[in-house]
Symmetry: C2
Subunit: 143 residues, 2 copies
């Protein structure tokens, strides 16, 4: 009926697919970022495809300045099997706001760098490049 039992997704395979170390996966499990997977009789972890996606998500979110604790919050938004919907919505809106702030900050940085490139190309010496100036504008309270 199904050909799934043929190749169980062991920790090593997941690690290769998600491009992280095996130890990292076990670490995320200990930290509660990924659920304890079912085990074979001999104690081997067996994962589903979704685990790879989840680990890749963690990796990506980390590169965007989210801490593992924050990533845990992000993941918990979907982990709940319905219920407490209003709470989830509030959290989601919070996270969206955080993301918007990050995007704005990055766009501001991008504009500065682009300006630097243009200035550099055109005139020769750029004593007062705008890279810092643009970003000086009042804290955006990104934790």
């Amino acid at each position: 009926m199904n050909a799934k039992t043929a190749a169980p997704l062991t920790i090593g395979k997941v690690a290769r697919l998600a491009e992280v170390g095996i130890e990292t996966i076990r670490f995320y499990e200990r930290e509660g970022l990924i659920p304890d997977p079912p085990r074979s009789e001999s104690g081997y972890r067996h994962y589903g495809e979704d685990s790879v996606a989840r680990i890749r998500f963690i990796k990506k979110a980390k590169a965007l300045g989210f801490s593992l604790a924050e990533i845990g919050e992000l993941l918990s938004l979907r982990a709940k099997p319905s219920g407490s919907c209003a709470n989830v919505q509030a959290k989601a809106h919070e996270k969206i706001a955080e993301i918007d702030q990050k995007i704005e900050a990055l766009q501001s940085m991008r504009t500065s760098l682009q300006g630097l490139v243009v200035e550099c190309r055109g005139t020769g010496p750029r004593s007062e490049c705008p890279i810092l100036n643009t970003l000086d504008a009042k804290e955006t309270s990104c934790t």
Copy 2:
């Protein structure tokens, strides 16, 4: 002529203005992220206004997932007093590409969360929310 000598910007004032700890400033100095400031006769550090901007920039870039080493590279783009313009341009383009990747990843995350919110509001149970799916699409190789 000038009223600047009245209130020299000491490390404590810079820390308050940039909203970081005093120790953090000295740490950044040791790491070469901010230049060694001139000293008073008694050895007190005296900063210019630009130092505050620089520290705030570091803080912001850190929240966006850049390491101190990467921030150093970003800052070095403007630190150079002209010369090696082509090199600076190449680096700047590199950094712009990195920033674009981060922005895209964040926008993808934002879309997923927004989708979650909408789904949550409309129908009741969202067993297969798209938060992970959207982000699963092939690595963007953000280090």
